[in-house]
């Protein structure tokens, strides 16, 4: 009888030990959570709401498969006429090495524009005075800008690399547009819903 009790105790202890080890090991082995790109458009005047949730892993797979005129192998060609002779890599290098600062401030009767670098992000803030005080805020981590310009070809942007960089970055609010009646938000997080 005593032998039986001892075996039961050993069994219970073993089970508890196994459960404890599983609890310790599982979080470490768990795959990183999937990231989602969310777009939310809310137009109060029209009564329209649009929610889009795209798994970034899916976007990473689809982008290289698209091959049309400007988009191929996950990269998009920049046409010379669009950018003129601006050397974006040189500009990016200059911004990366510069301390946090406000780079551009434009104020006129139609709009206020501010471009700044803060905490590893490039921040663009636009107020469109003509369009009922529409405000646009864009925050792009420098890591993502780096990824965009990571191709060898200087006339291309690597969108697939930027998506990968977004996946590795933390939760971030990328774009907000606030109009008189409509709101647009674009952000990345680990939740598969917008609730």
């Amino acid at each position: 009888m005593k032998m039986m009790q001892k075996r039961t105790q050993v069994g219970v202890v073993f089970c508890l030990f196994a459960a404890g080890m599983a609890a310790l090991v599982n979080p470490a082995m768990a795959a990183p959570a999937d990231k989602y790109l969310h777009v939310n458009v809310d137009d109060a005047t029209e009564g329209t709401k649009v929610n889009v949730n795209v798994p970034l892993e899916m976007a990473e797979r689809i982008l290289p498969a698209i091959n049309n005129r400007d988009l191929h192998d996950g990269k998009i060609s920049i046409r010379n006429k669009d950018v003129g002779d601006v050397d974006f890599r040189a500009v990016l290098d200059a911004v990366r090495t510069a301390p946090d600062n406000e780079f551009v401030t434009v104020k006129d009767k139609d709009s206020d524009v501010r471009v700044a670098k803060a905490n590893g992000n490039i921040i663009v803030h636009v107020i469109d005075k003509k369009n009922k005080e529409q405000k646009v805020d864009v925050t792009v981590p420098l890591k993502i800008v780096d990824a965009l310009f990571s191709t060898a070809n200087k006339d291309e942007l690597d969108l697939a690399a930027a998506i990968r960089a977004l996946s590795d970055a933390g939760d971030i609010l990328l774009v907000t547009v606030q109009g008189s009646s409509e709101k647009v938000r674009v952000w990345v997080d680990s939740r598969n819903t917008q609730d």
Binding site: Y36, N53, E60, R61
Partner: protein
């Protein structure tokens, strides 16, 4: 009497196993309800496994246009289906307008499309595995025209 029981049991088992195999890839569900008086009511529930089989058996000339359109976008379709298959359940797109609601989601291994507007209510469920198999059959039909 016992022999008859065994035969009936065997037939029932075979029927169940057949139904199980047929539904192993899930079911395609299409439901359309037109809201106008006397409007069409369609409710089709079919084993998803039948879709690739139907493509295989269909005359090639009737599939020619679908094959041609698919061929141009095959890599994108494949990548999208793979990505969807591996992703968690998610509402991909939801549009809400006065009198209209559209939702496209991935739910339990299926693509689910729900549309509800002034004219009709439409619900479509299609398992991703079955869509992949059907796409591959169409791709094969393009590369091996008979």
């Amino acid at each position: 009497m016992i022999l008859l029981g065994k035969i009936v049991l065997g037939m029932a088992g075979a029927g169940l196993a057949g139904a199980g195999v047929l539904c192993s890839e899930g079911v395609v569900h299409v439901k359309v309800i037109e809201k106008e008086p006397g409007g069409v009511h369609i409710n089709v529930i079919a084993p998803a496994m039948l879709a690739p089989i139907a493509v295989r058996l269909a005359p090639r000339r009737d599939l020619a246009k679908a094959c041609e359109q698919l061929q141009a976008n095959l890599p994108v379709v494949r990548a999208a289906l793979e990505g969807l298959r591996d992703s968690e359940d998610v509402v991909l797109v939801e549009v809400e307008e006065p009198g209209e609601h559209v939702e496209v989601s991935k739910t339990a291994g299926s693509i689910v499309v729900d549309v509800d507007d002034a004219d009709a209510t439409v619900h479509v469920t299609a398992p991703i595995r079955a869509i992949s198999s059907t796409v591959e059959e169409l791709a094969a039909a393009t590369s091996n025209p008979m």
